[in-house]
Symmetry: C2
Subunit: 493 residues, 2 copies
Amino acid sequence: MTNTQAQQKQSAGKNTRTAITPTREENFPEWFQNVIKAADLAENSPVRGCMVIKPYGYAIWELIQRALDDKIKDVDVKNAYFPLLIPLSFISREAEHVDGFAKECAVVTHHRLEKGPDGKLVPAPDSELEEPFVIRPTSETIIGDSMSKWIQSYRDLPLKLNQWCNVMRWEMRPRMFLRTTEFLWQEGHNAFATAEEAHEDAMKMLGVYNQVYEEFFAIGGIQGEKTPDERFPGAINTYTIEAMMQDGKSLQACTSHDLGQNFAKSCDIKFQGEDGQQHHAHTTSWGFSTRSVGGLIMSHSDDDGLILPPKLAPYHVAIIPIVKDDGSAVFEHCRQLAARLKAQGIRVHLDLSDSRSSDKMWSAIKLGIPLRVEIGQREMDEGKLSYVRRDLGKDSKAIVTGDEFCGTVQKVLDQMQADMLAKSTKFTRDHIFDMKSLAEVREFFKADKVGFARIDTSLFGADYDVLKKELSLSSRCLPFEDEGRKVLVGKSY
Amino acid sequence: MTNTQAQQKQSAGKNTRTAITPTREENFPEWFQNVIKAADLAENSPVRGCMVIKPYGYAIWELIQRALDDKIKDVDVKNAYFPLLIPLSFISREAEHVDGFAKECAVVTHHRLEKGPDGKLVPAPDSELEEPFVIRPTSETIIGDSMSKWIQSYRDLPLKLNQWCNVMRWEMRPRMFLRTTEFLWQEGHNAFATAEEAHEDAMKMLGVYNQVYEEFFAIGGIQGEKTPDERFPGAINTYTIEAMMQDGKSLQACTSHDLGQNFAKSCDIKFQGEDGQQHHAHTTSWGFSTRSVGGLIMSHSDDDGLILPPKLAPYHVAIIPIVKDDGSAVFEHCRQLAARLKAQGIRVHLDLSDSRSSDKMWSAIKLGIPLRVEIGQREMDEGKLSYVRRDLGKDSKAIVTGDEFCGTVQKVLDQMQADMLAKSTKFTRDHIFDMKSLAEVREFFKADKVGFARIDTSLFGADYDVLKKELSLSSRCLPFEDEGRKVLVGKSY
């Protein structure tokens, strides 16, 4: 199915006027920017490549953090905090790491400002640092330095640490959420006595991420192993979840790395084993960032704006009073409903502003609030309300009593969460196409078709590399389910 | 009372051997460092002036964050996230702010590294930034820039924003938690239409902080206004909580600033009022940092190490099986008790390691765990256990049945929390001394006495300034309770 067909299918039976222009079909990247704008999630900042995460966008990130942090703690990882700045000499320690990360970093060279000749502030020449620092692009080297002190004996293992922090990688072509110079993430760093444990851990943490994607994001991605050319610099293996966006491109949604003994050797993480001998530890690292919010948006949203799965929605329910003149009685009725829902743990957006009812309705749509409740004078008099599921639109409109709504709202939200996951999973599965030759792959992507090609790894080689370059494709992953025999090929964010 | 007397009083009736050396009396600053070390809270990092917050220390910070974040949200402030880097031109906007903050900042001048002539990494000369950035020492200017775009009309006010983040102020004499080049904090930034609202807000947020100090930290500090020389650079008024540490020095525990229209003018935060005219907004800012953990330690801990108030304790209860040979039955009994307590929401540290019982006991003491439960074979057979409150020591030992313990543990913890606050408040109140002349103040501090002097503000003047300089004193605050007529004078961290 082409982009056009996908779009036509999705918009069939819908109002032709959309809240977001351009539509997904017309210009997917621009649609993405405008969904962000319409939901007031984030905006570009005066610092090139960096974004401001606005309150509604940050509220989503807080829900993600809470969900993931709980699961990380469940597997006995402890949170800690390590310095923002990394000495240049640390970054230099792991050879591949240097090539991968030392390129586009923010470099701190001075520690004081002073007024220059023209009265403007300049870095004070006498404050130049003997050894410059980089702002962490990732923290393997600085956390490895601590681990080398904390680990002495096999009794100190496993050591499992995580930090929630900001990192910086200078981006030449920034895009909100997807690729920003500064971003927020968690980075986990675990150390083990054996290679087997490290391998298992890298797989386990990918599994934790996948739980979060399925349970909270309602995204059914493909778990797999990265090909060597796509690995984290310094890893012996990188595992990934590739999530297919609605335009058929892949988002590398998170990664988990088996670092083998590479960083243990470069950071000198050694322990005395039960055998009395010194051994290097085996380490893993795994990260999940604000990039995931970009994936959330591109997976579910439609031409009317954001659609949020209930578990990551800052508000589960929007309540909109439909009033003409004096609406005070309806307002009070809505207030009571809101209070009742809040007491049940439902997050409520009660819109009592003086905007017009239709504007309130469109606002709730663009914010992606899962359920939209409307109550007018007549509904109130009848003890009823109408509600609509954001993902299904007006066809899902139901009229129920207030009691019925309060009694079933959690079930409706759970159903929506489940339906969104099922839809995401089906979309992904429906857009993975088995192909037997590179010619087929070329034809598919030249025609701008939506999805991934799945081909045999026996097709790897010079021709494959030429094809990737020609059509800006990449090996997304070797899916676990194909046990290394197949590779997914596609375009990516 | 002198330091010596305070110490003798506190150690009266105690074992003379202490877990921490030196004691508070012998060397308070070194005692502080060693309490941190013994509880494994944090350590110095290879980045000068920056610390690594270790898992146990970070767990305390997470409890603080949760407590404060809930209260911040309760007063309708929204969390958001703004860039780490601030353009030099932004920092230059507010004149006083420049003098106060532009001095010791980390300056980012390049955005790429490359291999230099000797193969080592150096900042790539062609990546020099046209305009350098500083790593935020605080974010008034960059958040003000966003506010200037987001605020157009009086309808957009109040706008109340908060961010949890890291900041950097280059420290020449760093001390763990108290003064580190990088630290973690929350910084709130609110904008209002009127001066009255901004003033009220600055006071209200100080009140929120005070609630957290009293309810969670069990610290009864003194709320007041800063004298002009101690104000935040650019503020028209700064409010503070000054917490008296056990050595009588003050810790500025948090601050809340009424910025008047200073930042609104320098950042161009304007709105159209109900009168149709353009007005500058009135803003506040308020911050609470990891420094508070330093205050927590120095307020409550003793010569055996950390003492944590239950609400900020990562573990409420330590369970220590006292066994000689085969302890498996006692271990299993302890496991069941732990499970039962956890089901009640009690945070439990069950020590089943192969350390000696006495080492486990000392470990629990040094970690400051509020209640220490010990169970041996005989206690188990009798269905009993013994417990001790960390703050009261072995004199508080009680022997109760397991059922009794589970039934009363929350009450015991609540009592301990209340007692610790009462003790902190009494200590502070007992060590504030009214003085009538500067000569009295000089005599007091020359004799190294413990506490604050409270004097009339009519004593301000050149002699007072000389005295402050001579004895390294400062005006801590004009306590609210004295309505601006008195100032507290003391030494400080």
